[in-house]
């Protein structure tokens, strides 16, 4: 189906988005289809909106762009929501490093909708109470 890869933009408060991208790149290597927009605490909405718009254009290959934001209800998500467009831009909130890794390593054939579902699922599945995982017998 989609020959072009789905692009992605991490959008967050402060420097979280940049640092998540740097962490993922340290592990996986250069990630050309992912951009990061860190919205400063005092940036105005128009400037933030323009920064997201530029980032979407920079990663778009015609197969849609997934925006992953830090927290539902926060300004980065609310501004990102202005870009929602069926089949073109989707948003998944609560970004964590495994979600960025999932985006970075997704198969080229997946559509925007499929990737959004996979990333949402990965994010939820990647949270573990580690003691219970490493020593199941002891955890209560």
């Amino acid at each position: 189906m989609a020959e072009n890869r789905v692009g992605a933009v991490i959008v967050s408060h402060g420097q979280l988005a940049n640092e998540l991208l740097v962490a993922a790149e340290t592990v996986i290597g250069d990630l050309k289809n992912i951009a990061a927009v860190s919205i400063g605490w005092h940036d105005d909405v128009e400037a933030a909106k323009e920064a997201i718009d530029r980032a979407i254009k920079s990663v778009s290959q015609g197969a849609g762009v997934l925006l992953v934001t830090d927290m539902f209800g926060g300004t980065p998500t609310n501004i990102s929501a202005m870009f929602l467009a069926d089949g073109e831009v989707e948003i998944v909130t609560g970004v964590n490093l495994p979600m960025v890794v999932k985006i970075a390593t997704h198969s080229e054939g997946s559509t925007l909708g499929e990737l959004a579902r996979e990333v949402e699922e990965q994010g939820k599945q990647s949270i573990y109470r580690t003691a219970a995982l490493l020593e199941p017998a002891k955890a209560k």
Binding site: V27, I28, K102, Q122, S126
Partner: protein
């Protein structure tokens, strides 16, 4: 299919950057590469970093490696060598 076991020797175990190296290596081969904890508690696909991390393979963990495909011998040797060399770490 080629199978064998290898012990994780580097101090940090199979951590994120190490798993990243393994995924990049696996991408050079066509064979399917499966790693499993010797105690059977987890199994991972050599191409999936997130599944490799779930092996929770710390130093001295023994992993069973199974490789199947037309370049299985080369792939198996490359994976074993990467692990035996501790991913280039101490």
């Amino acid at each position: 299919m080629v199978e064998g076991t290898v012990k994780v020797v580097n101090f940090l175990g199979l951590h994120a950057r190490a798993a990243g190296q393994l995924v990049r290596l696996a991408g050079n081969f066509r064979s399917r590469i499966i790693l499993e904890r010797e105690d059977g508690r987890a199994e991972a696909d050599g191409r999936s970093m997130l599944s490799l991390l779930m092996l929770a393979a710390s130093k001295d963990t023994v992993l069973k490696i199974s490789v199947e495909g037309d370049d299985e011998t080369e792939a198996f040797e490359a994976v074993v060598s990467l692990l035996e060399n501790g991913f280039g770490e101490k």
